[in-house]
Amino acid sequence: MGKIRFMQGNEAMTEGAIAAGARFYAGYPITPSTEVAETSAIRLPQVGGVYIQMEDEIGSIAALIGAACAGKKAYTATSGPGLSLMAENLGVAVLGEVPCVIIDVQRSGPSTGMATRPAQGDVMQARWGTHGDHAMIALAPSSVQDCYDLMRTAFAYAQRYRTPVIFLADEIIGHLRERCVIPDPEEIPPAEQPDAIGNLQEYRPYDHTNGLAPLAAYGSKHIFKINGSMHDQMGRPCADPQNADQVIRHLSEKIEGAKDEITLTRAYRMEDASYVLIAYGGTARSALSAMELARAEGIPVGVLQLVTVWPVAEKEIDAALAQVKAVVVPELNLGQFIGEVRVRNRRNIPVVGVNRVDGKPIEPAEILEKLREVMA
């Protein structure tokens, strides 16, 4: 049954991470994510985990990656400016194939922007913040319960695909207080463990010929190289063009090719919908309220919530586009995701955004108004 607690989103992320087996946090405090750091500083030493406040976000993600190579499930929390500083080493986790979870509680930008105001301006930064070709996994919670539950998903994905995962929260959800069901310890399924690593001598950290190689830990029986430069299957530097081509394609393929497993969506009242609102994160709440208002007026509208923002839930978006007469995409940015819907709009139906960048959440009435516009 579990117990019901009244919690803040940021705190629920910490509890969710610890329940998922995370035992290492390195971060640099930044509004509006500081409660993740503060609650982690209290909780991690209690469970024998490590909390360290680093000198900056560059060092924070570096420490995460190091800890993950030494066998810990590791996470950090930041906001847009911090994610910008992490961008280079995010690439080390990508090419080095080191699992870790980066919470980004988005705030208004660019630059220092408005530190306490919500935004969803990091959608593209999450996808393309680090240079070079790669795929990325980003999950967007829309409730405190999501903050808790999806943290397990984030760590499972990080482990399963040997990749950094961005937990793309926003100020609305990070500072939201609502009920959260914390399962009893015996109800929590054991955290996903990497498959046993075979023969000692033959461990190749980057040999994915028989499925993704699990990551061993420094200090285990294995001796291995982790390399943020282009490498061969042993982790040795390698500038062979064919190898580079294979490695870079693999980085995208391992995630894009597992889309069916990774993309989580929620469909609300889509059975009879002639219109759809496609939304994610805190804005999904406004979309759901807008749907209720519209339904009360007899407008057949549904919501497709993207819990996984990256990779793109192509199938679900395609299905919605095939079904409806128009799509509204509310976003707390000037339209960072809507392009992904537009490129699949083969029937050329109206796909319009509702966008705010004034540091205020989108009101359901604004979405309803836009819906009426496209219906007219």
Binding site: G48, I52, G71, A74, Y218
Partner: protein, 270 residues
């Protein structure tokens, strides 16, 4: 045996003839070999630069990340598993220039690891531009009219930041270098060894010392043992490399202090 730690399949190494990096690597591996540790319990973390290639030739666990961040990666590794023996190999670009922030904080926290900064006074790998340790008046590719900045005295920085073992040697005096690395390994806490090392290809060529022997002779001439430095004036010491152990003190390292907190909480809960 050195062969137990030297990864020969990647030889011949990448360094130019007359480069000091190979000498430091030998000294390091011989010292690690003497410890009698299990190879799997050692992690060598490197930065990016000529010296940052060292992990290619080492048979322990290795981590090769980004320019300047080796100490931050190392901090995560050491804190996650304090039983590991962590070595952080950085150049002067890594260590004090782009990564200076990590250096002072790792020293302040007294993270128990051995950091070896090979200081060749310029950026070798990118073709000889100036770094945070390039001496005043030196010619580099980006100070073609003579360098107008003053280079860091890195050992003083690390000492002031709280490093509990701080030493400087040169590749000219390998006997001393071996001894300094040995002491650094024996020391519990943040152990920092700066090694002045020749880059004849770039720093040498730009400053009338293109031949390896000329660079080596210059390093020898510029070197002043700590004991002798005590009786020299600041003017006399300008541009000199003072060698020896500047700091060797006992101070609780980070992981030990952290474990005390964990144990205390366990006690309170139990």
């Amino acid at each position: 045996m050195l062969q137990d730690y030297l990864l020969e399949e990647n030889l011949p190494h990448f360094w130019c003839a007359g480069c000091g990096s190979g000498i430091v690597l030998q000294s390091l591996l011989r010292n690690i070999d003497k410890q009698g540790w299990k190879r799997e319990d050692t992690v060598v973390v490197t930065g990016i630069g000529c010296w940052g290639k060292a992990d290619d030739y080492i048979k322990t666990n290795t981590f090769h990340g980004t320019h300047g961040r080796a100490l931050a990666f190392s901090t995560g590794i050491k804190l996650a598993n304090p039983d590991l023996h962590v070595f952080t190999l950085m150049g002067d670009g890594d260590g004090i220039t782009i990564g200076g922030n990590h250096l002072i904080h790792a020293a302040r926290r007294n993270i128990d690891l051995v950091a070896i900064m090979v200081n060749n006074l310029n950026y070798g790998m990118t073709g000889g531009q100036y770094s945070g340790t390039t001496p005043r008046d030196a010619i580099t590719k980006t100070s073609p009219y003579g360098h107008i900045e003053t280079g860091f005295d890195v050992c003083r920085v690390v000492q002031a930041a709280g490093g509990s073992f701080v030493a400087r040697g040169t590749v000219y005096d390998v006997v001393q270098l071996n001894k300094l690395i040995e002491q650094a390994i024996a020391h519990k806490g943040f152990s920092f060894v700066e090694v002045i090392s020749p880059c004849p290809t770039h720093f040498g060529r730009s400053n009338h010392m293109a031949a390896a022997v000329e660079m080596m002779r210059w390093i020898k001439e510029q070197t002043v043992p700590l004991a002798r430095a005590a009786s020299m004036s600041p003017q006399e010491l300008e541009g000199k490399f003072v060698t020896g152990v500047f700091e060797n003190s006992q101070r609780e390292d980070y992981s030990t202090a952290y474990q005390r907190v964990v144990d205390r909480l366990k006690g309170e809960a139990g």
